[in-house]
Structure formats: C-alpha cells, structure tokens
C-alpha cells in the first residue's frame, strides 16, 4: 500500500490493540514483541508514545483497529 500512518499520541488510550493487530497480521499470532508499532506508556502520567520499528512497511492494519483516531492511514497523493 502506498501511504503512511498519521499519529496523534494525545488521543492514544494505551489499549495496544494496534500492536496485537500488527503481530497477528504479519505472523498470525498475538505477540506485542513482534509488532512493528510500539506503544510506550507512562502509566503515572497517563501519556503514551507511538513509535514504529524500521521493519514497518506502512499498511493500514494498526489504523484500522485504532478505535480512538490516534492512528490514521493517510493515502499518498
């Protein structure tokens, strides 16, 4: 797919569904440590960082399963 993932960490709730969906899409197992998107939380502050590994080849799986609009798939023009 030609596009990229737009991120808005302010809207991230820390549910990590994106990480589960990513590992499932690529490996057919659930395992956050195999995910190409990484959500790092600061539980005490209620904040979350959104990062991607170098292996991420933007598809829309993580954005498709983000219920909070913290991730959106943007088509390249």
């Amino acid at each position: 797919m030609a596009g990229y993932i737009g991120i808005n960490p302010q809207l991230c709730t820390g549910c990590r569904t994106c990480m589960l969906a990513c590992s499932f899409a690529f490996f057919k197992v659930f395992n956050p440590s195999k995910s190409k998107i990484i959500i790092e939380g600061n539980e005490e502050e209620g904040t979350f960082d959104i990062k991607f590994t170098f292996e991420c080849v933007p598809c829309d799986v993580c954005a498709k399963y983000c219920a909070y609009d913290a991730l959106t798939y943007v088509e390249k023009e």
Binding site: C15, T17, L20, K28, Y68
Partner: protein, 642 residues
C-alpha cells in the same frame, strides 16, 4: 495449544517448589478459563472450610482464553481464594495489562500455595520463575512498590500485581493492586497475599498466543467489535465511563445516602452527578485490547486537591465515599482514590466500615471513648482520609474498622447489627434494593462472592421505569425491538420475557445473567454494558472454536456458565453457607426508604423459584443429583454433598 497456553504454574511458597500442571482440553471445554477454572482448581486443591488466612488457602490467578488476543476487552484476570472477609468464595476481577502479560509469559493460570517465611515477590519472565526477597519492599505503599520493582528489574513495561500496607497488615478487605490505578478490590484477596508474605507478582513475557483458525477468529473479532461499538451505550460510556450511571440510578430512587439510611438528595446529584466529571476529565484510558476506554484520566486544578492527577473518579468510590459517607465534592473522590489505591484496601468495604462507624457514632451507640477521641461526622473529608490511614495501619480505632463492618458490629454489639448494609458480607450499595427491585438487586442474594452487584447483571435492563411496590417476581422489560436483538437463546427468551405484559421474569433472568457473567469472567472479557448487553453465548462459541480449535456450540458455552454457578455454590456450601444465610441485612427489611422496604417472605419465595429454575433443592440450595449428572459434576470427591 491454541488460545490457551495449556500450562498452569504452581508455586508453593512454603518450600519454594515450582511445578507446572498441564490442563486438558476437556477441562477447558467444561470450565473455559479465568473464574471457572479458578473455582475448579480451588475445589481440587483445598478444603473450603479452612481458615482463609492460614497457609492452607490457595490463591489462584486466572486469565481466560481470549486474553492476549485482540478480541475486544480481552484483558481480564480473575483472582480467587477463600475470602477472609466473607468466608465464602473470594473472587475479584481486574483488567489492564497483567493478564495478557501472563499469557505472553506462557501461562493461563498461576496457583500460589503455602506461606513464605520471609517477604518475597515473584518475577516471571518467559517461563523463568524467580522468587526474590521483598524485605526492602515490605512497608512500602503500592505505588512505591511498583516503581521499585520496575527500577530494580530495569524494565518499565513490566506488569505488577502487588499489595500495599493493607495487605501486609491483613486488613480483611485488603486489595491486590493492578498497576498504579487498577485493583482486584473485592473480598480481601490482598490479605490472603499478605498472609503468604507475598508482596508482588511481576511479569514480562514475549511469547505467542497462537490461533487455530486465524481467518475465522478475525471474522468473529470483527463481528464482536462491530456489535460493541454500535451499541447505544458505547458513546456515553466513552464520554463518562462508569459515572454515566450515577445520573441514571438517581431518578430511579436507587441511590441511598448516609449508610443507606435515606434517599440521596439533590445535593448529591448536583455535586456528584456525571457532568461534574467533565470539569476534571482530560482524556480516556483503555485496558489492553479495549475499544471503549471507560477509565477517566482526571486532573484536579483547583481547591484543596489541586495538582492531583490520576486515573480515577468512577461510580463505585463516588457511591462509597459520596453517597454512603456523605462527601459532596467529586475532587475529594479523586483524592480518596489515590489513598485507597496506595494503601491497597477495597474502597467499598473501607467506606462500609467508615459509614457504619459514623452512623453508630451519630446514634450514640459508640462515643469518643471508642474512636480515639475522634468526632465522626458525615462528609468530613480529612476525617475519612485519616480513618483510611488508621484502617490500613490497624491503628487504634482503625484496627476494629479493618475487620470489616460485619465483624465490627459483632464486636460492638448493642444492636449495631441492625445498621449493617452488607449482604452476605459485602456492601449492597450501588443500587439500593429498596429503591429499585430487579435482577440486579435480587442478584446480591445469589452472587457467589457475597452480596454485591457485580456478578448478576441483566443484559436487558429497563432503567426508565421500576416495577410497582410489592412486585417481586417481575421487572419491566426493555422495548420489544431491544428484546428482539438481545443475544439470549429463543427458548430462554420465552421463559424470561412476557412481551404482552412488558415484563421480565426475575428468577429466570437471574439464572441466565449469572451464567452469562460467569462465561464473561472465564473468557477474560469485560462486563461493561456495551459488551454484556450486545454479546452472548453464540458469538462466544464462534470465538472459542476459531481460537482454540476445540468445538464449542452455543449451548456448550451456556452450560459451562451454569456449571461454574453450580461449583461456586458447592464451594460456598463446603465453606459453611446455608440456605438461611442467603438474606439481606436487617436494615433492608426493617428501615424504609421513602416508604419502601423489603418483604422477607416475598423475597424468599423468589429465591425458592430461582432454586427451582436451577434444579436445586429448595431447603438446602444445593444442586440435585440429576443436575450434577447433567453437568458432569457427579463424580468428583468434592461434589458429594450429603
């Protein structure tokens, strides 16, 4: 194995022996996981009549098969043991990340036996089990404990379940904290952990949760997600979280104040209603795999609690410290949340003890001579926070409150048991049964863990109108179009609903609801209305079959829920609970709220009908032989009931 890891880790703290137990497909088929499997393990491993704070008690921490997957809300862990508070089956359920992490560590269940001679904590990572000294953690509050463990193990992504000082001091309603802001709060399981000298269980796993039929599973996940996110309660739950319900229960007359002595007044709803939350709420926080994110991140920017920020302000502490203890300031509920989370005590029973103490003081049954010189008044925030501290450290008058309201009343005497608002040892205060009689309030009599509201909730409630006073068999049903789409089997719908009369049969609906919630608490999913009201055994059977490769029919799933109800009753019977113990506290029968009080004779008749629905003996409330055989329960040593 698919879905399940197939492994239960057993740690005996008396001799530090660590073993693994392999579970069979038949075990999973019959008990699903989580709560169901926990209860089965407890019956296999312990005698329910033991002293709950002795080393003979067994602490069972169980995830469900869906936990660790992206099935919406599949993040929950049920912790079970004999309760030191109720002396019944202790069980409490919590979400966030601990359960998924246990699965990624390679285990479905963790069973803790025995007692360590010295304080320890357990660190499990990828199949490696470490039992480490907790000498340096003993005495720390839960937040400092979590910080210290993450620092010394050099990994901030570790998930920690721990006790605070409340658990160490064996407060009978101590909680097990789940990260900074969650808890397995009810039934005093933190005291069981404390009695074993176990301060914390820390997890970090990198293993897979495998899926038998990936395509089929994803299809069912998408269906589940669509149903949840399209349910009418979804958006309001996102906006307000559980505080949504405060403004729904109030006009029903179901919220009662001052140790449940009178209907909550306008002062309550004006100061504690859900709109007040929006002043402090900054964002939503979600547990793992949850599309709802019902938790409120709040920041207090004025008044005496300025600067406080945390995940908090939920309906439960708002009822506990607001309605029940008289606080009329939502920011103070955030402060109370910080205190009880750090100390590691259950907010509901802590507030139960405090509210009883205040009422007894106000009535002159106890005096300053009993309270260390403290004057006990409703809504006195500094006093309530100081009592939480004294309870936690069992200091002076707090030592009595730390025993919980039922034991407090027994020790104080002088008729104080007449002021109790506990049912079978637990607070019945979220919706007062005198203000609103329905499946929810009847459920407090049959809930396996004691009389709170969280294990028997109807998936088809009509919260706009209540049944007329004196009606005990029925509540009003939702509109016909809602009944049509609700995920209840057609043959059960026929027994439950009378659409001509617009009614719900309470005994039948209570049985369906109880079994359904057992299923949910065994799968590891959530009971919030967008989930509970939109899903049922049919979709759960599809998810289970695709995930595990074990063929589950919708009836198999329902029957597992029923089986779990039956073994919970067996546990409680063997722990000593008799049919005549299944009653509300005297206050609900004797003290009217706006003219309404419960009629014990009529309540007992509904209970008898419920036992008939269950095929249980009416006199003993025990499953008949035929029922045990139907559920494949008749050949266990623990299922001999005579």
């Amino acid at each position: 194995m698919y879905g399940y890891t197939g492994k239960t880790l057993v740690i005996d703290l008396s001799n530090r022996k660590v073993t693994q137990k392999e579970m069979s497909n038949q075990d999973y088929f019959e008990y699903i996981g989580g709560l169901g499997m926990n209860t089965r393990i407890l019956l296999d491993e312990m005698d329910p009549s033991i002293d709950p704070l002795s080393e003979d008690n067994v602490l069972c921490l169980g995830t469900g098969p869906l936990v660790g997957t992206m099935a919406p809300t599949a993040n929950r862990t049920d912790i079970s043991a004999k309760s030191p508070l109720t002396k019944l089956l202790g069980t409490s359920n919590s979400g966030y990340s601990w359960g998924p992490e246990l699965k990624f560590c390679g285990y479905d269940h963790l069973v803790i036996k025995g007692k360590s001679e010295t304080p320890v904590y357990i660190f499990i990572t990828n199949g490696e089990v470490n039992i480490l000294s907790a000498d340096h953690l003993w005495g720390k509050d839960s937040w400092d404990t979590i910080r210290a463990i993450k620092n010394e193990l050099k990994d901030k992504e570790i998930s920690v379940a721990c006790i605070g000082v409340g658990g160490e001091r064996l407060v009978k309603f101590a909680s097990i904290e789940n990260g900074f802001y969650g808890a397995w709060g009810r039934t005093g399981l933190g005291a069981v952990m404390g009695s074993k000298n176990l301060k914390a269980i820390a997890l970090r796993g990198h293993g897979d949760v495998a899926v038998a039929d990936p395509e089929g599973f994803l299809k069912s996940v998408d269906e589940m997600r669509t149903r949840i996110m399209n349910h009418p309660t979804y958006k309001p739950w996102r906006q307000f979280g559980s505080m949504l319900a405060v403004d729904i229960y109030y006009p029903l007359g179901a919220i009662t104040a001052y140790n449940q002595s009178e209907a909550a007044g306008e002062d309550f709803i004006k100061t504690m209603g859900r709109e007040n939350l929006l002043k402090y709420k900054k964002k939503s926080i979600g547990c793992t795999a949850c599309p709802i994110a019902c938790a409120n991140w709040v920041e207090i920017d004025d008044g005496p609690y300025k600067g406080l920020k945390l995940k908090g302000i939920e309906i439960t502490p708002t009822m506990d410290f607001g309605a029940r203890c008289g606080i009329r300031n939502l920011a103070a509920i955030a402060k109370a949340t910080e205190i009880f989370q750090k100390y590691g005590i259950d907010c509901s029973t802590a507030a139960g003890s405090i509210a009883l103490a205040i009422e007894l003081f106000q009535k002159g049954i106890i005096s300053k001579a009993d309270t260390d010189g403290l004057e006990l008044n409703w809504g006195d925030e500094p006093l309530i926070f100081e009592l939480l501290r004294r309870i936690t450290y069992r200091e002076g008058f707090g030592d009595l409150l730390a025993e919980g309201p039922v034991e407090m009343a027994r020790r104080i005497g002088k008729g104080s048991e007449q002021y109790l608002t506990q049912t079978r040892g637990l607070e019945t205060n979220s919706r007062d049964p005198r203000g609103r009689w329905d499946v929810w309030s009847f459920g407090c009599l049959i809930n396996a863990r004691g009389g709170d509201h969280l294990r028997v909730q109807s998936p088809a409630e009509n919260l706009r109108e209540s049944a007329p006073e004196g009606e005990y068999y029925y509540e009003f049903s939702p509109p016909e179009k809602v009944v049509a789409r609700i995920a209840i089997f057609d043959d059960w719908k026929e027994k439950i609903f009378d659409l001509g009369k617009n009614t719900v049969n309470i005994p039948y609906m209570a049985a369906w609801s109880q079994d359904l919630m057992n299923i949910v608490n065994s799968l590891g999913t959530c009971i919030r209305p967008p989930v509970l009201h939109s899903l049922g055994p049919t979709i759960y059977s599809k998810l289970l079959t695709a995930l595990t490769g074990i063929e589950f029919s919708p009836e198999d799933v329902r029957k597992a829920g029923e089986r779990i109800t039956n073994i919970q009753r067996i546990f409680n019977f063997k722990a000593g609970e008799k049919r005549e113990d299944m009653k509300y506290s005297p206050k609900f029968y004797n003290v009217p709220i706006e003219g309404r009080k419960l009629d014990k004779g009529k309540v007992d008749k509904v209970l008898d009908k419920y036992f008939e629905v269950r095929n249980w003996d009416i006199k003993t409330a025990l499953p008949r032989e035929e029922k045990l055989r139907q559920l494949n329960l008749n050949e266990f040593p623990w299922s001999r009931l005579s």
